[in-house]
């Protein structure tokens, strides 16, 4: 029986899809059997970030409504064969998802994969609720700024109230992933400090992903950053986060900006 993980945030644009792809690829590279599901019906993106947009035939809605079999809709990654994608539909909307249909699809995927990673849409409405519904654990993606932190807090409350586990009176593991972290700006107090975010949200820290152009570069190429440039700072942070998800103890390193003479001379962006 695989684990169901939801990547969620409340707020849009904080890096849910990027993190889903990067964590999924990192877990798959470690030999785990992984499927990533795009729940953002109507505004799908995960296929682009995974570089599979030209291979989409059937999607989640087709499977939920019984028009296609799961095996027909799953797209296996060309780079790692233990990584699969279940894309969303771009032409439908979230109302096309049914509770029973989603439950059935997730149950089936749980049998086949070690990790079922659900990429939640932004917001706190139907789409987000369905994405989190079956989750065993959650990664809450947060940028170090106040609006993102408050939205994450709202989502954590919903994870504790609106998931199947919560309804059964069980706990759901919640992990905080701080993304777009810029150590320089944090030092200049232009950004919330990680300690402050942790204090406000009071859930364990899964990782800190530094702000980096590598992330954007990878997205534009259609490759998770953990595959495109595995040695880059954000990719290393995602690999560490993936190991923590598997239960390993890995120290969280807060990426520091190198201010040495060499760094300045060469004008490199060191995250």
């Amino acid at each position: 029986m695989g684990k169901v993980l939801v990547v969620t945030s409340g707020k849009g644009g904080v890096g849910k899809t990027t993190s889903t792809a990067a964590l999924g690829a990192a877990l798959a590279r470690g030999g785990e059997n992984v499927v990533v599901i795009d729940f953002d019906v109507g505004l799908r993106n995960l296929d682009l970030v995974m570089g599979a947009e030209r291979r989409v035939v059937f999607d989640l809605i087709n499977v939920v409504q019984g028009d296609a079999k799961l095996a027909q809709a799953l797209i296996r990654d060309k780079r790692i064969d233990t990584l699969s994608l279940l894309p969303a539909s771009q032409t439908r909307d979230k109302d096309a998802l049914t509770v029973e249909g989603v439950d059935k699809v997730i149950a089936e995927l749980r049998e086949k994969f070690d990790w079922v990673i659900c990429d939640s849409p932004a917001g706190i409405e139907r789409g987000a609720l369905l994405a989190m519904r079956n989750a065993d654990l959650a990664v809450v993606v947060t940028n170090p700024e106040v609006s993102s932190v408050r939205d994450s807090d709202r989502i954590i409350g919903m994870l504790d109230a609106r998931t199947l586990r919560a309804e059964k009176g069980e706990k759901i593991d919640k992990h905080l992933l701080v993304t777009r972290y810029d150590a320089g700006r944090a030092a200049r107090n232009e950004m919330l400090k990680v300690e402050d975010v942790l204090e406000i949200l009071s859930i364990p820290l899964l990782g800190i992903i530094p702000e980096s152009e590598e992330v954007l570069k990878a997205s534009n190429i259609g490759s998770p950053v953990t595959l495109n440039n595995p040695t880059s700072a954000p990719a290393r942070a995602y690999f560490d986060a993936a190991r923590r998800l598997k239960g390993e103890t890995v120290d969280v390193v807060i990426p520091l900006e190198r201010t040495g003479l060499i760094g300045r001379l060469f004008g490199r962006r060191v995250a």
């Binding site: 807090d153 409350g157 919903m158 504790d160 109230a161 609106r162 919560a166 204090e199 406000i200």
Partner: protein, 230 residues
């Protein structure tokens, strides 16, 4: 703080007047708990429950009714009437075991904290987890104690006092059913709003020296006092 609405018959005319008022100040009822005083509605009035529904459809969050007559059809769905204030010196009956707080407002866009009280004592609701943004904890019958923080955009409302062992970033309302003696305590004050028995104070009006400190708030007549606890 809870607002009190006291509808008068004929109810339709009163609703029209209310709509006019709400047109002038559309956000007036936003996120405010409302008690509906039905004392001046005659006993033979029909359709009171439907009338309350009409209020709720206007986005008014009804937390209770007062002066409702039990013979009205469907009125029990609107919860117990608020207790009339107890007179001093009355014999105390043994407190009944406390059930989890009922969902604060039906159909309001707030989910009640899912976890009921982990442990209850007489007239105290203990919440042993942080209160998250968007959550609303309402306990009319006594005090609320929160072990953890109350987030920005969350609210804790008690008939008695509110005790928060953590940072208060959201709203705390004490003395909901008219207890001016209720107080608010928190380990760290960063509140958006404090209210006791209808007297409220927003963040702007709080003394700067109290911010970030452990404080208590109480009422001195009609004025709210906030002092730092050592």
């Amino acid at each position: 703080m809870a607002l009190v609405l006291a509808p008068e018959v004929p109810l339709n005319d009163w609703l029209i007047a209310l709509d006019a008022q709400m047109d002038r100040s559309p956000n007036f009822f936003d996120a405010r708990p409302v008690v509906v005083d039905l004392g001046s509605v005659p006993r033979e009035q029909k359709g009171v429950a439907q009338f309350l529904q009409l209020l709720e459809q206007r986005g008014i969050r009804i937390i209770g009714t007062e002066g409702a007559h039990p013979s009205w059809e469907g009125i029990e769905a609107w919860g117990r009437p608020l207790p009339v204030s107890a007179k001093p010196g009355r014999e105390i009956t043994a407190p009944e075991p406390i059930a989890p707080p009922s969902a604060p407002i039906k159909a309001a866009p707030h989910e009640p904290a899912h976890a009921g009280p982990a442990h209850t004592e007489a007239n105290t609701l203990l919440i042993d987890h942080p209160v998250r943004s968007g959550q609303s904890i309402v306990f009319e019958r006594g005090d609320i104690t929160v072990l953890g923080s109350v987030a920005s955009g969350a609210e804790v409302m008690a008939g008695g006092s509110v005790h928060i062992y953590g940072t208060l970033r959201g709203r705390a309302v004490a003395g909901l059913a008219g207890h001016p003696g209720a107080r608010i305590f928190c380990s760290k004050l960063q509140a958006e709003l404090l209210a006791i028995d209808g007297v409220y104070q927003t963040a702007d009006g709080m003394p700067a020296k109290a911010l970030g400190k452990p404080v208590q708030a109480w009422l001195d007549g009609e004025q709210m006092k906030i002092s730092v606890l050592d």
